[in-house]
């Protein structure tokens, strides 16, 4: 992790810890934030897949749904403790991702988008037809219990979910800066060149795809055990598109973008509640405008702004490596992350 990212990560941890102080202890506010955290997990996976491996997916809702249904089913019907059913759900999603990825990742661009979209829709139909409860969904899913302590309050859940987000972020940052991460960005820039350099492109692509599926499944499981009721409606194409929107609005070349985008897209409808019927209009308008004006996503811009401030305050210190170096540097290059490290 670069120095800038380390600072940002520390601030991030402090913000999570201080959340109740900053925004009050209301379970409504906390729930909004924790749903944002759940979305952030899915978005982080997609961000690594898109921003770093250059592959698109419109099927994340499928993995999200697999995670939710498998974990819920195992714990509700077969009495498996949630701490075991969650990893099991992630494993099932990973297996599904492998099966899909091997043929699908040979496809490019729009074709890959449609293939993943098709997968997501197939999962949706399967849940509708054969899922427990069918289209009506099923409830009474046990809540999460850790060592005899059951998570019930929204604030306990908040810390749990955002704690996981923090861990997943750490993991993802390390991945990006590892050998694999450099190879990934090479794939993003030119598959042919990376192949020539001895990178096993297809194996690596599959790995990242599986990783994004696992993140989504984890999020799905958390969702199921928090709400304790799930139905196929929550795992439709609409959600996949929403996650894609989070990543793009936040900034595709930066993991912070995924987190920022999820916060923005989750909080926005809540903020628009008072507009009643107009909210869909306002929502569409704000999305359109933010895409038009913040083409690289609003998070990289925010980062630039902070850096600009910092530079002005201490003009003599040498500029530190930029926060989210991969994102900021890439800006000069048509929004693609740089292959250099």
């Amino acid at each position: 992790m670069s120095k800038g990212n380390r600072t940002a990560y520390a601030v991030f941890l402090v913000l999570i810890a201080l959340f109740p102080l900053l925004f009050g202890k209301s379970s409504y506010t906390t729930s909004v934030a924790l749903f944002a955290g759940i979305n952030a997990l899915v978005a982080l996976g997609l961000s690594v897949l898109m921003g770093y491996a250059g592959q698109i997916s419109l099927g994340q809702a499928g993995f999200y749904g697999i995670g939710a249904y498998v974990s819920a089913l195992l714990s509700a019907r077969y009495g498996v403790p949630v701490l075991l059913s969650l990893p099991a759900a992630m494993a099932v999603a990973a297996a599904a991702a492998v099966v899909l990825a091997i043929p699908a990742l040979r496809l490019k661009g729009h074709y890959l988008a449609v293939a993943t979209l098709g997968f997501g829709e197939i999962i949706h139909v399967v849940l509708n037809e054969w899922g427990p409860g069918g289209p009506s969904g099923f409830g009474d899913i046990p809540p999460l219990g850790i060592l005899g302590y059951t998570l019930t309050s929204a604030s306990a859940w908040f810390y749990f979910v955002w704690g996981i987000v923090a861990i997943v972020m750490l993991f993802s940052f390390n991945l990006i800066h590892s050998r694999n991460g450099r190879a990934l960005r090479a794939i993003h820039d030119s598959e042919t060149a990376s192949n020539a350099m001895g990178v096993d492109v297809s194996a690596l692509k599959v790995k990242v795809f599986v990783l994004s599926a696992v993140y989504a499944a984890l999020a799905g499981g958390l969702y199921a055990h928090y709400v304790t009721f799930i139905s196929p409606g929550s795992f439709s194409l609409f959600y996949s598109v929403l996650v894609l929107m989070m990543v793009v609005v936040g900034g595709i070349n930066n993991l912070w973008g995924a987190v920022g985008g999820s916060l923005f897209i989750t909080v926005l409808p809540e903020a628009l509640r008072q507009f009643q019927e107009f909210d869909i209009l306002a929502y569409g308008l704000i999305l359109t405008l933010s895409l038009l004006f913040f083409r690289k996503g609003f998070v990289p811009l925010l980062i630039e702004k902070i850096r600009f401030r910092a530079l002005r305050k201490s003009p003599r210190t040498a500029p530190s490596p930029p926060l989210g170096a991969e994102g900021a540097e890439a800006m000069g290059k048509g929004g693609r992350p740089d292959a250099r490290d």
């Binding site: 009050g24 209301s26 009506s136 409830g139 009721f229 139905s231 909080v267 509640r273 004006f293 913040f294």
Partner: protein, 385 residues
């Protein structure tokens, strides 16, 4: 770009501020929360429900409120989405400190609220039909619902079919919670009435042609088609049924109860039979029927205000709200007492959906007598005897 960014940050701050803070309460109004699918896939339910609640609140306040306390109904849009419904309920419970919540419009959303309402010890009167919302009653201490059970609607249809000598039916249902619940009820109750289901077909909420499903039902030798859905699907099925000249009657669910459907289907709707609450046929009821007066007032008021009819679903919101209002009038804004009142004192209580009798064993309070079998004739409803 720089200025744009400043604007954007300001916007974000305003949004966050708006989201996380809310104006302080006024002087001692009674507050009820309402969660409806005003937008999204089930918006055809949420719209009349929201209108109804707005109208009733206005009427109650114009008449001096509830024992002098103004009634404040805070309506939240769940966007037909369970996550949104959960957040809306949390907001209502905490920011608005409501004494009870009515809605949501769909079974899934209502189910998602069960644990939240139970934790918050606050009564919920759902506007959705699913039996799972109030059963098992032992685990649904705080949960009530105003729509009739799907099983009651099915029983009404089967009872009538038996009299007509129909023994083989084909089902076509929408692949949503509503259609699925109806489909299950139709399958479960068929043996009891000596009815065989020869085809069990489905379609998606946005499908535009169901002739395949209907042709299959016809080929399977059904003596009648039952369509279980709400929204545009029921009109498309009606049009397809008519175009195919199937030669067997079409039955619809209790979701058919809106004149709009007859208008949209036009001549195709002639002869369609459905079990409907008395709201749509109030003008054909005997004057001494206990529901007639209130149905008449509600229908006429609604029509005058919104230039359309409330339909069965607006009626569910009416019943849910009025039960809570009556409880508030009698016992004041005490959550536990409101719950007890609804459970024990709503007896032979005329609403739009039927005459309710709640009890600790039944948190719905209606049975198949809440329905009349109604046929479309000359573009109007006609009660079948």
């Amino acid at each position: 770009m720089k200025r744009g960014f400043g604007l954007f940050t300001a916007l974000l701050v305003i949004i966050l501020f708006a989201a996380f803070s809310f104006a302080a309460p006024a002087k001692a109004p009674y507050r009820i929360g309402a969660i409806f699918s005003v937008t999204g896939a089930a918006s055809f339910l949420g719209e009349p429900e929201k209108n109804t609640v707005l109208m009733l609140a206005e009427q109650i306040n114009a008449a001096g409120g509830i024992n002098g306390h103004p009634l404040e109904v805070i309506i939240e849009d769940s966007k037909s989405d369970e996550t949104q419904a959960v957040l809306a309920a949390k907001k209502l419970l905490e920011k608005d400190d409501v004494v009870a919540i009515i809605g949501p419009s769909t079974t899934g959303e209502s189910m998602a609220l069960v644990p939240i309402m139970t934790n918050a010890k606050t009564p919920l009167v759902s506007c959705a039909a699913g039996a799972g919302i109030t059963q098992p009653v032992s685990e649904r201490y705080w949960i009530f619902k105003s729509p009739q059970y799907d099983t009651s609607a099915v029983e009404a249809i089967y009872t009538y079919m038996k009299r007509q000598g129909i023994a083989k039916v084909g089902i076509v249902s929408i692949a949503t919670g509503f259609g699925d619940a109806g489909r299950k009820a139709l399958n479960d109750l068929a043996p009891k009435y000596g009815i065989t289901i020869v085809a069990d077909e489905r379609y998606g909420p946005k499908d535009s042609d169901m002739t395949t499903q209907l042709a299959k039902i016809k080929a399977a030798g059904a003596q009648a088609v039952i369509n279980w859905s709400v929204g545009p699907g029921q009109v498309v099925v009606t049009k397809n049924w008519n175009a195919l000249k199937m030669g067997i009657p079409l039955y619809q669910s209790h979701g058919w109860g809106s004149k709009k459907n007859i208008e949209l289907a036009g001549k195709a709707a002639e002869g369609v039979i459905a079990p409907l609450g008395r709201l749509v046929v109030w003008d054909k009821l005997a004057d001494r029927h206990p529901q007639k007066a209130l149905l008449k007032k509600y229908s006429q008021d609604y029509e005058a205000k919104f230039k359309g009819e409330p339909g069965t679903f607006g009626g569910h919101a009416y019943d849910s709200l009025m039960m809570v209002v009556e409880a508030l009038k009698k016992v004041g804004p005490d959550k536990a007492k409101v719950r007890d009142y609804i459970e024990n004192k709503i007896k032979k209580w005329p609403g739009t959906g039927g005459v309710f009798t709640m009890s600790p064993q039944d948190h719905c309070g209606l049975d198949k007598d809440a329905f009349e079998m109604v046929v479309v004739r000359n573009g109007d409803w006609e009660i079948l005897k």
